[in-house]
Amino acid sequence: MAYKQVSSRSGGALSWFLQRVTGIVLLFVMIGHYILMHYNIDSGHTYDAVLSRMQNPFYKGLQMTFVVLGIYHGVNGTWSVVRDFDLNKSVSWTIYALLVISGVVFGLVGITTLMSF
């Protein structure tokens, strides 16, 4: 089994770094999300409560960031799990495509929901 070097430099460093950056940003967004959404005396989960909160642009921005970064981080993270395996090219491209498409779709869905207010 002679070792063949098949891999290449294709943004490994960058996506690795962005995973860390988005992770740290998410850490703060997550704290904000938890405090604002669930454990604030004023918060509520009724339609009206959500509606009223959504009028606040800061709040909306936070949710938007969460959706975008969360999906990026999640997709990138899952892709990095997939890449750990020695899969053949077509399989890994298929998974890659599925991940990206799902990310875009869910991202759009999330954003539409947020924008509908």
Binding site: M1, A2, Y3, K4, Q5, V6, S7, S8, R9, S10, G12, A13, L14, S15, W16, F17, S80, R83, D84, F85, D86
Partner: protein, 236 residues
């Protein structure tokens, strides 16, 4: 004391698959090396037992085996160092490399990876008349990585290698570090190119199995983190 040593045996000329064999040893001292036990079994019970060894004190890197579930050097672990349940010690070959016979594996892919990181000094200028100067601090930055004895315990303990045999692995990274951070070397970019790859640095998820397994107690993950940062620095 009395001890059972449970060893994975496999002779490709006879067996279709590896199996375990138990050996009862009497008069085992708690200060015996595991290698001493293997030797006793080979010399007194079954001469067919096959494994590598040479120096007997943890410096040649021949005898990395999996002892009680973890990679270690048989000559650097004493019976008293192990948590022994039911008076049994289990010995298997190190994982993830092709099995050859009993505890002996084919290390060639491990060494091929070592070779691809250009494991030799590449200076830009012709050498001076006398030695190149280097501060002791700069020299000592290399010492920990230079301790490596190429035993293979680290790379074969890494889950990233278990799932992908192309993973370059901690031992080769360490060798790359040894030169990239040598003030006398001028091939940093060239070497980073070879490990800043999808089968390279980015497959290390700081699992630390390598550090746990390293008999020379090298903080391999720390060294890898220095390499990751060096690779990142040229991107941003």
């Amino acid at each position: 004391m009395e001890l059972t040593v449970r060893i994975q045996r496999y002779d490709p000329e006879k067996d279709s698959a590896p199996h375990f064999e138990n050996y009862k040893l009497e008069n085992v001292n708690k200060t015996d090396r595991i290698l001493d036990l293997l030797n006793r079994i080979k010399w007194e019970i079954d001469g067919g037992l096959t494994y590598r060894r040479s120096c007997t004190h943890g410096i040649c890197g021949s005898d990395a085996v999996k002892i009680n579930g973890r990679n270690r050097l048989a000559c650097s672990v004493l019976v008293q160092d192990l948590k022994i349940s039911k008076s049994t010690i289990q010995i298997e070959p190190i994982p993830a490399l092709p099995l050859e016979k009993d505890l002996l594996v084919d290390m060639s892919s491990f060494f091929e990876k070592y070779e691809i990181v250009k494991p030799y000094l590449i200076p830009k200028d012709a050498p001076p008349e006398r030695e190149r100067y280097q501060t002791n601090e700069d020299a000592e930055l290399l010492f920990e990585s230079a301790k490596c004895i190429q035993c293979g315990s680290c790379s074969t303990s890494c889950p990233s290698l278990w799932v992908n045999e192309n993973y370059i692995g901690p031992a080769a990274f360490l060798k790359a570090y040894r030169f990239i951070f040598d003030t006398r070397d001028d091939a940093t970019a060239e070497r980073l190119d070879l490990i800043d790859t999808t089968d390279g640095l980015w497959r290390c998820h700081t699992i630390f199995n390598c550090v746990e397994a390293c008999p020379k107690e090298i903080d391999i993950t720390w060294h890898i983190s220095q390499l990751k940062k060096a690779a990142l620095r040229r991107e941003i």
